[in-house]
């Protein structure tokens, strides 16, 4: 056990924990926008898979990483448009339509991968971007300031999202539509318009989260996300619909995964026990939900479609 607490190991564990939180963070912050406006998008995992494949395939064919990100965002926007159309315009039951989008993304990404790629070839992700000066700090520099641009972007997204939600008129509209769509509508806010915007933004970020996962791992395979998108949805509840809380949850998942990985590599815990450790975040999330429900209130109109005069 002593081995684990050497500073080099600790530093690399935290650093890889941050990296592993990235995909959760994009997806969960995105989902926060949708849920704040009253729409539960349960199809995040499917959208992540499609985004991941889109980015992977683009990079594999020489399109470059930036184009890969654009493709992932575009895929997310298209899926978000479809999701918003069914949830907002057609008022479909969100808990189920989301499962449909998940299965669609799961199947389609696998189908395209098998048909267009076949054997999983590795790709090279974004290079490490050392922040000048900060990266040279002892310990912290290696932990926090020697990552790829994707990691920085994910964490920068948190204050941006918090600012938009809490300090802008748009954020006020989003929150009011999620709390009391009738009142917002009376005041001239387009409930449908706001919800389309948040769901599409969230889906674009989910696509980006998938792309982050694929480029950081440098690979795509069937069901690459392994349920990360579902966890992202739960992280929004976990974080009480606040970007900072959502970040805390994402970090929990990333760090636990990284610690388990590290302990396994060092041979401190037997391989088999790592599965038990991997249960931990899920159990913690359930406990957190029990606590959160007593203290926090979800957006009043969450999962409730709005129809004028209904």
């Amino acid at each position: 056990m002593g081995e684990f607490f050497t500073s080099a190991v600790l530093v690399s564990t935290v650093a890889s924990g941050l990296r592993l939180s990235t995909s959760y963070l994009f997806a969960a912050v995105g989902e926060t926008f949708g849920q704040r406006s009253g729409v539960l998008n349960l199809g995040v995992d499917g959208i992540m898979l499609l985004g991941a494949f889109g980015a992977y395939y683009t990079v594999l064919n020489g399109g470059g990483l930036w184009l890969g990100m654009v493709v992932a965002i575009t895929v997310g926007l298209v899926m978000g448009l479809a999701m918003a159309f069914t949830s907002v315009t057609l008022q479909a039951e969100q808990g189920i339509s989301g499962i449909g989008f998940y299965l669609f993304g799961l199947g389609l990404s696998d189908l395209l991968f098998q048909k267009l790629v076949g054997t999983p070839l590795p790709i090279r992700g974004f290079p490490e971007l050392r922040i000048p000066f900060l990266a040279d700090l002892p310990v912290v520099g290696e932990m926090l300031f020697s990552h790829s641009i994707v990691v920085y972007a994910a964490f920068l997204l948190v204050p941006v999202a918090a600012f938009v939600l809490n300090r802008t008129t748009l954020g006020l509209k989003i929150r009011s539509v999620g709390e009391n769509p009738e009142a917002a509508d009376t005041l001239g806010v387009s409930v449908a318009g706001v919800r389309y915007l948040t769901v599409m933004t969230g889906s674009a970020l989910a696509g980006l989260g998938g792309a982050a996962l694929a480029t950081e791992l440098g690979i795509f395979q069937q069901n690459l996300t392994a349920g990360q998108g579902f966890i992202a949805v739960a992280l929004v509840y976990f974080g009480a619909w606040r970007p900072v809380g959502v970040m805390a949850g994402s970090l929990l998942y990333g760090l636990v995964a990284s610690v388990v990985l590290q302990l396994k590599t060092l041979g401190i815990i037997p391989r088999s026990a790592s599965e038990l450790a991997a249960m931990l975040p899920a159990v913690l999330t359930i406990l957190a939900l029990v606590v959160a429900v007593q203290r926090e209130r979800q957006p009043a109109a969450l999962t409730k479609p709005y129809e004028r005069g209904a």
Partner: protein
């Protein structure tokens, strides 16, 4: 009228499938012919289709109970895994028991395992207000990790350790747990009968017993139900417990009816369940959230899944196509509910116009669980 929407949804999904086949450079005609041949081409194909339909039916019927109580059970995957684990553990613990005792006992163990995994989110929802969608997602993760732990550790086949290959699987279960084959030279086993019986039992339970009536009443209007003296919280727990039990039974059948007669994991839930926990939702929706309607619905989706393998062999289009199409069916079915509501509203308005009192009061309002059929004809004899 209501039954037309799911059919239209499947047709729409098939049209999309045809377009996708074209885009992938395969002939849709050839593709669909291969699927039909692969699913219905002969006794063996039919048997495989039925076997594939069995977990979908059990899960679908379980989902139906939950839906009728207005709870969404997307924990089918985890409940299947739990049921399979408990059934497997029991079979391994009692290797010398005779089939007449061990087989039913093993299936019952599966029921219990799944029931526990359904009861937990039920209780969390009823007594702590935790959203069941989230808790079931988390319990799916716990279940799959538990399966990986047990099959790589305590429950692994000792031979796998000796040979050093360490494939995460149990040893071959006692032959007493092999589900009897019903038709020689096919893989059709007793699981099919069990599933159909379960569907009928659930139908009788939901529509012909007081308890079932309470569950449906809670789903239709929890407030009115509470006013009528129904313990809403308990009904929620019961509904999710029963829902989980049926998924657990599906897990036990998956193991006892498997070709290798052991439980194997590839590390993922889908590797074991074949996504039955999600595809069962598709079947239930298509079956109009009715246990009997779910029987043909699961057969259809079983056929799609089995046919997809032949599709892959003949046209080189990966079978994952069918997973994507299943997703579209779900989206189309839940999206079409709006037109169903509109039709009902229209009928109601017409009734108002003509002053038809009976029609006004007999039509359901907006309280019906989403995508659910109008409530049955039975009146509230239980309310007193």
């Amino acid at each position: 009228m209501g039954t037309l929407f799911p059919v239209a949804a499947v047709l729409a999904a098939l049209v999309v499938g045809a377009v996708m086949l074209l885009l992938l450079g395969a002939s849709p005609g050839e593709g669909f012919a291969a699927m039909i041949d692969g699913a219905f081409g002969g006794p063996r194909e039919l048997a495989d289709t039925v076997n594939k339909a069995v977990p979908l039916l059990l899960v679908g019927v379980g989902i139906t109970i939950a839906f009728r109580a207005n709870v969404i059970n997307i924990g089918g995957e985890g409940q299947i895994v739990l049921g399979a684990l408990t059934a497997t553990a029991l079979a391994l613990a009692l290797p010398d028991w005779p089939a007449v005792v061990l087989l039913p006992l093993g299936l019952a163990a599966g029921l219990v395992g799944g029931a526990v995994w359904g009861a937990v989110p039920g209780a969390l929802k009823a007594y702590f207000g935790v959203n069941e969608i989230l808790s079931t997602i988390m319990l799916n993760i716990v279940a799959v990790q538990g399966m990986n732990y047990l099959l790589r550790g305590p429950m692994i086949d000792p031979a796998e350790i000796e040979s050093g290959s360490r494939i995460p699987q149990t040893m071959r279960l006692p032959p007493a747990t092999d589900l009897p084959v019903l038709v020689p030279d096919t893989r059709l086993n007793l699981g099919a009968v069990i599933a159909v019986v379960a569907a009928v039992v659930v139908y009788v339970f939901l529509w012909r017993t007081t308890y079932g009536y309470r569950i449906r009443a809670v789903g239709l209007n929890p407030f009115a139900s509470r006013y009528a003296g129904i313990d809403v919280k308990r009904s929620t727990v019961v509904a999710l417990t029963l829902s989980g039990a049926l998924c657990g039974l599906a897990g036990a059948i998956l193991v006892f009816g498997s070709e290798s007669h052991r439980m194997v994991t590839d590390g993922s839930t889908t590797g074991f369940t074949g996504s039955a926990g999600f595809n069962g939702i598709v079947a239930a929706l298509f079956g109009g959230l009715h246990p009997i309607g779910t029987i043909p619905a699961s057969f259809l989706f079983g056929a799609l899944l089995v046919g997809a393998n032949r599709l892959q062999r003949v046209t080189q289009v990966p079978s994952a196509l069918v997973i994507a199409l299943n997703g579209l069916v779900v989206v189309f079915v839940v999206s079409s509910a709006i037109w169903k509501r509109r039709l009902e509203q229209r009928a109601q308005l017409e009734a108002v116009q003509t002053g038809d009192q009976a029609a006004q009061t007999s039509l359901p309002g907006d309280v019906a669980p989403a995508a659910a059929d109008p409530p049955g004809r039975d009146s509230g004899t239980d309310d007193g």
